[in-house]
């Protein structure tokens, strides 16, 4: 958790606001969060339990019907694969970023940050353009004579994984980059002077010291991909439901609010559980 309060020791009582003034200043925020966040989410969750008498049927249905379990498992599996891919592709980028300076560093940083500042919708659309039947990938492969029939790339699980990895990779790179940057360069130099090769000094010094950043990035990417809606909906299509697109479908098409509430409850529980477990590593800034 980002620590928003300053250490109380370095504050003088003279400069402090009175309790009533502080409450008055924080009141709009509290009202907003209670009315627009806590109450709606509570209402959604209550609806899954009280219909109007307390029941567990909505939750049991998730556990008992194989199709829903399959969707849940596939969501977790996709999130795990996306997290792993983002790590394997992202770590070297973060590593090279720390070794560059000047214009080259700016260029690499731009490659990482520009996608982050671009709407998820636009990036999902770009993947559709790349992967559809007459898309860039298929037409390129056809013109090179590598295939004679367009491949089915869009609306597959692979497409969802590729697009989500692309969308979420900056969230992996930035925390790893800030962890790597905080390692004193003398440590690696010392390892090299003591006779370690580049690989050994990396595995014995750099990698272990950067692990907090890896955990932070991994947990961010994993949580975000568990609950991701836009990319699976557009790139995966209706055949490749995830828990998020299933929730959407239950509300907009089937109007089954209690069941949607139960699914939302499961997703929320898993998300908050993971955040609680890995709270030490998380700092919530958009840019590191």
């Amino acid at each position: 958790m980002a620590d928003v309060t300053a250490a109380s020791s370095d504050r003088t009582a003279a400069g402090q606001l009175s309790r009533s003034a502080s409450l008055a200043l924080a009141l709009p925020l509290v009202l907003l969060l209670v009315l627009a966040f806590l109450l709606p989410v509570a209402k959604l969750l209550m609806g899954s339990i009280f219909t109007p008498t307390p029941t567990a049927e909505n939750y049991l249905r998730i556990a008992q019907e194989p199709i829903f379990l399959r969707i849940l498992l596939r969501t977790v599996q996709t999130a795990a694969i996306v997290t792993l891919l983002a790590f394997v592709l992202g770590y070297p980028v973060a590593l090279v970023m720390t070794r560059l300076s000047g214009r080259a560093a700016m260029l690499v940083a731009a490659c990482v940050l520009i996608p982050l500042w671009t709407s998820v919708l636009v990036r999902s659309y770009a993947w559709i353009v790349l992967l559809q039947r007459t898309g860039v990938v298929n037409s390129t492969l056809m013109s090179w004579g590598l295939i004679d029939q367009p491949l089915k790339l869009i609306y597959t699980e692979g497409a969802v994984i590729v697009a989500m990895t692309h969308v979420l990779m900056p969230y992996m790179i930035l925390p790893i980059f800030s962890a790597l940057r905080s390692i004193p360069p003398e440590l690696e130099r010392a390892a090299r002077n003591l006779g370690a090769g580049p690989w050994t000094s990396f595995t014995a010094v750099t990698l272990p010291l950067s692990l907090p950043g890896v955990y932070a990035g991994a947990i961010m990417v994993f949580i975000l991909s568990l609950g991701f809606y836009v990319t699976p909906a557009l790139v995966g299509g209706p055949q490749n439901l995830t828990i998020a697109t299933l929730i959407g479908q239950q509300t907009t098409e089937l109007l089954n609010w209690p069941f949607a509430g139960a699914l939302a409850g499961v997703l929320l529980l898993v998300t908050l559980g993971l955040v609680g477990l890995f709270r030490r590593f998380l700092s919530f800034g958009k840019a590191a």
Binding site: V108, L121, R123, Y229, G285
Partner: protein
């Protein structure tokens, strides 16, 4: 290893173990690493950049590379009543969100950092919660509450929802800025007879301005680019640009989408470039 030739590098060479079979290794390893990273960067950047040439191509279906240069898709976007009303609706919501999230977030940050607040920890957790809770959960929960009271497809409903989602960014940037300035500045102003409000306005605010500005830009983009909640609480008449994009990508895939996307990307990049510039300037001035 750094790429600059410094004396430490020279020392490294002197002290490193006798180069034998390892001599080829580091160079080859670095070459492989840089090549791999280059490919990853292309993977990161290409899909974002791709929409620009697509919005300028002649053909009505997607061609790559595009043939001929035309601005007709931009003309189609700017002359389409549906696209224009969605764009203006999104811009109005984003501006209202920026204003309300910045004011609410800045005041609350001041209360948390400088004030005497019971339950400040709980408030912090609550503030960050909208960042953690999956947007799909927020979206259906808000729809459930907004639909019965006529707040779907409605400017006020959107402003409330997006302000709630954007306030965390303002809290983070402003709290960080408040912690960096010396409380003595404010005390000095108070001791010289300024009221609380005067001290805040004339002393604190100018000092945290970069943090407030960064929070405001994050709030604007968090609203303007927000797609999931917007998808669910849009109405037939009150539709955001993201909802309109979503619909057209699903049912009506023409290069107009690429034109609209390019407009959105350019707007985001200009705003975020401004924040980066502010950040680098304030970092340079505090050193």
């Amino acid at each position: 290893m750094s790429t600059t030739l410094s004396e430490t590098n020279a020392l490294d060479v002197l002290r490193s173990p006798p180069a034998s079979k390892a001599a080829l290794h580091p160079a080859l390893g670095r070459w492989l690493l840089n090549g791999f990273v280059g490919l990853v960067l292309v993977f990161l950047l290409l899909p974002t950049v791709l929409v620009v040439p697509m919005s300028l191509g002649e053909a009505a279906y997607i061609q790559f590379p595009p043939e001929g240069l035309t601005l007709k898709w931009y003309q189609a976007y700017f002359s389409d009543a549906d696209w224009m009303s969605a764009t203006w609706f999104s811009l109005k919501i984003a501006l209202a969100t920026t204003l309300s999230a910045t004011i609410i977030g800045t005041l609350a940050s001041f209360a948390v950092v400088r004030g005497n607040l019971p339950g400040a920890r709980a408030l912090q957790a609550l503030t960050l919660a909208p960042l953690i809770v999956p947007h799909i959960v927020l979206a259906v929960a808000l729809y459930l509450v907004f639909a019965p009271v006529g707040l779907t497809g409605n400017f006020t409903g959107f402003a409330i929802a997006h302000t709630m989602m954007s306030v965390p960014y303002v809290m983070l940037t402003v709290s960080a800025a408040l912690q960096r300035i010396d409380p003595a500045l404010e005390l000095a102003a108070l001791n010289c007879g300024a009221t609380r409000a005067q001290a805040f306005w004339h002393v604190v605010l100018p000092n945290i301005a970069p943090g407030v500005a960064a929070g405001a830009v994050f709030a604007f983009l968090a609203s303007f680019d927000e797609a999931t909640v917007a998808f669910f609480i849009s109405g037939v008449d009150g539709k955001t640009i993201t909802r309109k994009l979503f619909e057209d990508i699903d049912y009506n895939l023409t290069p107009v989408i690429a034109a609209a996307s390019t407009v959105m990307v350019v707007l985001s990049l200009v705003l975020m470039g401004g924040v980066e510039w502010l950040r680098s300037r304030s970092a340079a001035s505090t050193r």
